[in-house]
Symmetry: C2
Subunit: 338 residues, 2 copies
């Protein structure tokens, strides 16, 4: 059986209150007493029981992190940065992988809230639906703890949003391609999430502002697993075989772009001479192909930093910005020549 505060107090010849004071760094304890207690604590390697502690304190410096799939390149990196920054600030994190089912997410939120976490971070815009009904679970949760949204935005008390301006970033990227004289652009996306809609919106706005006719016919939604690059390649091949022609590709995720490059290489389509490609997220995948993939850096590390700082501020009772919006940046590599 593990030692309790009573055992320590007895061995040190003081009361439990004194041990508690030493433990929690109270000033009102004589140095000699403090040392006496510390010696015993260290000798027996005593650690206070987290449950008993949490009961009184009503918090144990723990943040719940929810993400759909921690093996997704983008989400994994986000989780990593978040965990690191929280840790550095004395917080621990409970991770839950919810999958992409909105119903399941609701249950996970309740589950993790019952753990009395101090805050909740929802990683990825797939946590935000389009209807009020779909977002009710966020409203409910926000009544208990602050909820932080990474890469998504939702207006509600005690809900804070950190995003990259996907819409205007995508607008800029599309414009760059259009300016380079490429107007038959295939747009590939695999998520209708908040962020996914913003990206698509930015693309469409750019196409419209350049008065490109019938551009919608080159917009495709990919249903499959974006980690299966061969499947993506086949998807693109089908589009090409259906008679559609395109000299540019813009995708909502690097993996989709890689699939396009694979397609092009298979058919000896030269990149970027005959086909220009832009991905999204600026992940490690950008470096795995030849030529390397032009992509959009959405400043993930900056976002996660801001998120944790905002959360810490909220938990300290400070007034913090409800929305923090960063600008993405087009990182030009070999698959484009603008």
């Amino acid at each position: 059986m593990a030692l309790t505060i009573y055992d320590i107090s007895k061995k040190a010849g003081v009361s439990i209150a004194t041990v508690s004071r030493v433990l929690n760094g109270s000033d009102n304890v004589r140095p000699s007493t403090r040392k006496k207690v510390m010696d015993v604590i260290e000798k027996y390697d005593y650690t206070p029981n987290a449950f008993a502690r949490g009961m009184g304190l009503h918090s144990i410096h723990t943040i719940g992190i929810l993400c759909a799939d921690s093996s997704d390149l983008f989400l994994a990196k986000a989780v990593y940065y978040l965990e690191q920054e929280l840790q550095a600030n004395g917080y621990e994190s409970i991770l839950c992988c919810t999958g992409y089912n909105l119903d399941a997410k609701k249950n996970y939120v309740n589950l993790i809230l019952s753990k009395k976490v101090d805050g909740l971070i929802l990683v990825g815009s797939n946590f935000i639906g389009t209807t009020e009904e779909e977002n009710q679970y966020i409203k409910d949760g926000s009544k208990q703890v602050p909820i932080m949204l990474l890469n998504a935005s939702f207006d509600y008390p005690n809900v804070y949003s950190i995003t990259c301006d996907d819409s205007s970033t995508m607008f800029a990227a599309t414009s760059a391609m259009l300016n380079a004289g490429i107007s038959d652009i295939l747009y590939l996306y695999d998520s209708r999430s908040y962020s996914g809609r913003k990206k698509l919106g930015g693309f469409m706005a750019a196409m419209e502002s350049y008065h490109i006719a019938d551009f919608e016919k080159l917009i495709y939604f990919y249903e499959g697993n974006n980690q299966d690059l061969s499947e993506v390649e086949n998807f693109v091949e089908k589009i090409a075989k259906s008679g559609k022609t395109f000299h540019g590709v813009i995708t909502s995720d690097d993996s989709l772009a890689i699939g396009c490059i694979k397609y092009a290489q298979k058919h000896n389509i030269r990149i970027p001479d005959e086909l220009s490609v832009i991905g999204y997220n600026d992940s490690m995948l950008t470096g795995c192909c030849t030529p390397e993939l032009t992509s959009i850096d959405n400043k993930l590390e900056t976002q996660t930093h801001q998120l944790v700082q905002t959360l810490l501020g909220v938990l300290s009772g400070n007034e913090m910005p409800k929305k923090s919006i960063f600008s993405g940046k087009l990182i030009e590599r070999g698959t484009t020549r603008f």
Copy 2:
């Protein structure tokens, strides 16, 4: 303030003991009483306080997961599978990213143990050092809870190891390349972890058994970040420029193999005609290059499944295998022709 079991008992007109019985699915409750209580619980959306519960139960079905870097492709996937399987079995997981510093890991283990987790999973073989001293923290931890090692092995009471037989798998892969008539093989690795040493050992054993002379001169340790593929490419280029020639490459990780392929493509070296390449982990990177990368599948999902089942068995007090070893498999794709 959240409702307590007292509030519920009062509203339902029963004692807290009865509420507790309903909550914990005891049989000794009259159906009508159970329904009465359940109605109140649902009406007020009551959830028992996890801390108070943990105090009594001495556990709250939580497993600590430690990994060096949750954004590493292999580790991320492992974490995902583990979290899913634990969740499916009613366990939650606390994730900590420790980094690769052995000292830091020690602190994290203590930290997470103080949270009263029911077990500890160390993901990745970098948690095992070569000296007794380096592994002391595992011995210490195992006195409190069972420790599960994924992709590493360590002999000690209450420590369980799940591994892929990296050594013999690498031996087989190397042999396959040698049988294809390629004997000047560049071996690239980026980790001296338990698993890293096994792989290297398997490679060397194969080379020796085929009596290849001076093969050690083509073994290189890559110090950099394996997610930076261009850096890997440069590393390979330097080796080639130093006068070394090789017609085969075997790496300890897919990312290193991709770097080699990038090098080859840059110099118009035909794959697999002039250069055969084998990676490790069978990650999504295998599909991102043309031709696709031959790699070694180390059965990660099988391993994580076995790990969780073993852990659950141990927690239930069953006698479980101390070591579970699976066989890896060479997945042949376009970068080899055996």
